[in-house]
Symmetry: D2
Subunit: 398 residues, 4 copies
């Protein structure tokens, strides 16, 4: 059933789930997206928040986004404690959209406090940290969702469903590309916004900015659609902008566990690039191509047949894709709805935990802590390969 056509949360609980947001304050790009996505399908209401690491700014900005003054908290600890004290009227879950280095500590604190967590990517700045968080998720039994939002697009889900159903046969080639232009100029030499300040600080943004920011998105998208994991990687990572002290480019060859090969190239220093995330996969029977700039379509070319362009809302989509279509065929949906679908999935998983009634199987395709761990392993392996002159490095069992 379409997400838009029922509300299993309200049906089960008589109310939406209560969400506390952490991060995403003034000047944030992703904050407003998270907030409108969380509430789009009325499965969450945002009732509490910590909008900034600065106590006073946090409280003021909480009011600005519409929170009751007493639930616009000054710190994460405060929110967790005071919401717990509310008992059954406290928050059910938190949404973490802080700088990267806070993802793990904040998520861990919330999980330990019995809260479900939806968290921005990258999940962690190291494999060790990622492994610990993944273990904690298992131990607490709480729901954890990582917002690799591209996997929330209906046509990306359609691609996965088609691969899973064998419509491409065994996969042979996987090409991913994610090109952005925001760092084509040496912006790090200009005046920095708070957001750029933490991004350009490796201690906060992680061992490779470009891999953490967009490489993990490309990696997850490829793995998600293929239903496979990267087995080994050979990488060339560095800075395209002269004088730059951090990575802005990563070119990688990869091999998947079930045998597919291909390449993954990502950069934030591509002058003229819009936000070009592209996935092309080829199997023994045909190929699929998805491009973020035209997210409502999926190109499908089969051996010996004419090319088909599947569209969001087409009559013949797989149930997993159909479920994620909200608006009628031919009316474009976008980035916001892709996030909303992860929130809808997250909500169904929480309700399933609460009620013991299993969620719709297609609501279980959201990115997990295990996916976050795979991403961290991929980053570390890629960096090691590049350091070793492009040698193939295995992505390890995890």
């Amino acid at each position: 059933m379409r997400i838009a056509d029922h509300n299993p949360v309200v049906e089960a609980l008589g109310r939406p789930l209560r969400l506390g947001v952490i991060g995403g304050g003034a000047g944030s790009f992703i904050g407003p997206i998270h907030r409108s996505a969380a509430t789009l399908d009325r499965r969450f209401e945002i009732v509490a928040g910590v909008l900034s690491s600065d106590r006073h700014r946090s409280m003021a900005q909480g009011v600005d986004i519409g929170l009751d003054r007493q639930r616009a908290y000054g710190s994460v600890d405060e929110m967790i404690e005071r919401e717990a004290a509310r008992g059954s009227s406290g928050i059910d879950a938190v949404a973490v959209m802080t700088p990267n280095d806070r993802h793990c500590p904040v998520s861990s604190a919330a999980l330990e406090a019995g809260l479900h967590v939806i968290c921005d990517k990258p999940m962690a700045n190291s494999v060790a940290e990622a492994r610990a968080l993944n273990d904690l998720v298992s131990r607490t039994g709480k729901v954890f969702c990582l917002t690799h939002n591209y996997s929330g697009y209906p046509m990306v889900r359609q691609a996965r469903a088609m691969v899973e159903a064998g419509q491409l046969g065994e996969l042979r080639i996987v090409q991913a590309e994610y090109f952005q232009g925001g760092m084509a100029l040496p912006v790090e030499r200009g005046e920095l916004t708070p957001k750029l300040r933490w991004k350009f600080d490796r201690a906060r943004s992680g061992p490779s900015l470009v891999l953490g920011d967009i490489g993990t998105h490309a990696h997850h998208l490829a793995c998600f659609v293929c239903g496979d994991q990267v087995a080994a990687v050979a990488a060339d990572i560095g800075a395209l902008v002269p004088t730059r002290q951090f990575d802005d480019y990563a070119g990688m060859l990869w091999r998947f566990r079930r045998g597919a090969r291909g390449s993954c190239v990502v950069t934030q220093a591509a002058a003229g690039a819009e936000n070009n995330l592209i996935l092309r996969i080829y199997g023994e029977k045909g190929m699929l191509e998805w491009q973020h700039l035209t997210p409502n379509y999926l190109r499908h070319a089969s051996l010996g047949e004419s090319v088909r362009t599947l569209g969001r809302g087409d009559a013949n989509l797989a149930p997993a894709a159909e479920r994620a279509c909200r608006i009628a065929r031919g009316h474009p949906e976008g980035f916001r709805e892709s996030f909303a679908t992860l929130y809808a999935d997250f909500a169904e998983a929480i309700v399933a935990k609460m009620t013991g009634v299993p969620a719709d199987p297609y609501a279980q395709w959201f990115p997990s802590a295990a996916d976050g761990l795979h991403g961290a392993v991929f980053i570390e392996a890629s960096l090691r390969s590049s350091d070793q002159g492009g040698a193939w490095v295995e992505c390890g069992a995890n």
Copy 2:
């Protein structure tokens, strides 16, 4: 300033505007769009509603969408009366998304009660009715917004700004096309949903279903971008599906007041059409093309130059377009945000009325009651032309 970057409503009033919704209950396509669009920028909160013409369904469905039980009303009159009784905590405005024949009576009642009104198109089922409503808007001094939502897309506003700035020179050709496929089969012979039931009833949907449903959209889009009105029309209107008793096709040649010519063809019976609303305008210096299926882009070809594709979020957009961009360049936005922009405009206009401080001039591009009257005149003129064997019929001064 971008809509997303400030909230003039909360800044002025300390709270969002309070909205009552009328229509858009279970099974409605447009209801959920209106509701998420109204709240997307937190300029409105939905606090009251009449979801159905059936009293009991109305109250039940109001609760379903999250209204307090006591503000989930059983009828429009009841909502108007009881909200008025709340004094300063009552609703500020209503959003009308009923069947077409109710647009005018409901909007009129709300205006008379001192409420601002945002209403679905077509505004009226006759010129007489449209003229009366337009007059009432003038008389009451309330804000009225007609949801020709395509004019809310940033790249449509960019097109208008470019025309206004003379970048195309004098306009010569205006081509509009709106093709849908939902009535390609004789669906009227099958089991009818409530929505189809009123659509297929001319007394409720108006004198020409296809012109009311999509013809007025194409007409408004063309007039909006050109900053002009249709002076005369020659039309061929009828049913493409044999045995059909209502119009599903209209082919029109038109002439604009400032001299441009061209054609407008609309149909709901185009098997295979997705939701193809296309506008192409040519002036003495160049042309612009916008297509709804790729709404984030605008094609601009100038004499002697290479084609440019302007994109939502590009650095060089006109202020009116820039204002309506919410998400970063390269992250697609869609149908929902186009509605939200009209709501944001509507809210700014209301606040301007309340405070006496003029709104951002670019917030005043929303479709008005006068536009609704033009649309009604266009429909009547087209029908008359078709009846007269395609003779040119003037669209009259209004």
Copy 3:
């Protein structure tokens, strides 16, 4: 069988057919196209020619294009007479690419002399002239081909084959559009090339330049694909460029004999237009779209199915389309090959006449003198409708 894979001319005659060209001399756009197209498949060799109406220029330019000096003639009469005198080594056919007013007289002279004729469009500048030529073709029994070259594109033939096979069901809407930009400026006020000089002289170019130049192309393309004829037309014809004394724009509503409706808009004054010839047809089961700017593809959308993009060289094309594909799938072909296909058809028809062995049925889809007559009727009816204020005018039995 593919045109490229056999040579029925050489197989039958032991040699290519011998062609005399008339027109297309220095400064001509279409001359080099005709000549390379005629010889592309080695079904013709160009052995004689009259390149200009000026005797001396004609002979000099004939040598320039590689003719033997003694066959670079000074006039059409001379060529016809002297080639006839060569007996079995004389030309078999002529290709006419003169100014419009010479098409009929020159073609008639050649037919009367027993030559087959391939001629540029428009066939004639009046219905009377067109009818006479059509009758002459019938009377002489010679092959006549009119170079509406768009019908030579493989994907246009695919479209016709699909319509013919009923894949769209009964046709309902036919939209044609042909927009050029070459006359967006008042070029007639500048210095004129010889080509523009005759184009701007109505006595030579015909009653409506825009309809003769491109309107007949759009008309033929639509009729060819639909396998139908225009029954009636309502038109608005005139000049978009102020001060212009000849037509540069025609907007038309049309009705086809089997019931389809739609519009046809053509102009040469569309600033920014490239050479946008577009055909969109909708039937009860689905639609087809072909655009000249991407001629190797054909969009096919069926009710309830995802859109297919058929490509030149695809495995599943109709024999009529397959026959016209020369180069492997994915290697673009263009305008030149579309002309070459008409020459290949023309050659097969001539050989069939010569040998009595019927040609491949798919070689018989080339535009005929009857098509030229239909075109002339369409032009006259459109002009009459426009003069009568857009009244519907029947295209008459012919």
Copy 4:
């Protein structure tokens, strides 16, 4: 000046150059392309040929393509000797389109005999052989052109001109991709055509079929546009089709001499691929993208500006691109014309040698023997890298 607008060969010599073709007989895809391309601009006439390695088939097929019986030779040696004996009426040049292993020996024999040579790629099956041929070209002073035809497309030349003019600034990323589907199935297990027989025989097709067939095209295209050479490569080469005994896939990371990085992925086993040759290059100021499936366009995105789509025939093209446009803007050209442009260049270079008058500088952009040597070095370095587990291998000074 446009190639199509003058004929420097006939102007200088009073006749076209005389060409002997070697290879390209019955069943060949490339033979007819070469022949129509060579004669398209009337700078060559084909007067002699050796169509097959089989003496009798060669002579018969020579007649089939229109050669005089006495110049349809049985072997290359025979043609060279007998044409030399004709003195000033013998051939000026040969076009080599044999299986790969014959390219070097045949070209060498022709050069030694004083003939100019235009030859299919790959130039050689080893670096040693390539170096020897390159040296021979220098020693003999004859013109040698290698048909990397993609460099003949006007918009590819436009890309090179823009890079050369610094419009992209320093280049940073070079992405090339060439995907074909012809070997997606294990065709080597079926019945083999003569063409496939030599292709699947490594002794004839070279050390890596996929790199020789299409890898060298992608490599040359990238180097041509960038005006740079590959400095080092890290490769993963192998067979995607299980049981296949030869390479059908190569994934490569590369570094250019002036510092750009990127990837190059090529395969002939991509089910569903059409003939997708794509080049995307990014510099400090912007990017260019060219795709073979839409060869008449070039996408140009600059930092802070809207995307431009340059089209063949646009008014503002570089002279090098303008020169290679034959047909008017908006009339598609294709694969055939790209070959013809190399032939036109080749002819101008020959005439320059003959007359001592330098050719148009833009006629000197055709691929040379030095380019062929670079290609051979690239293949060997890639294979060595793949054998060494993806280690970076330098492409060596050559």
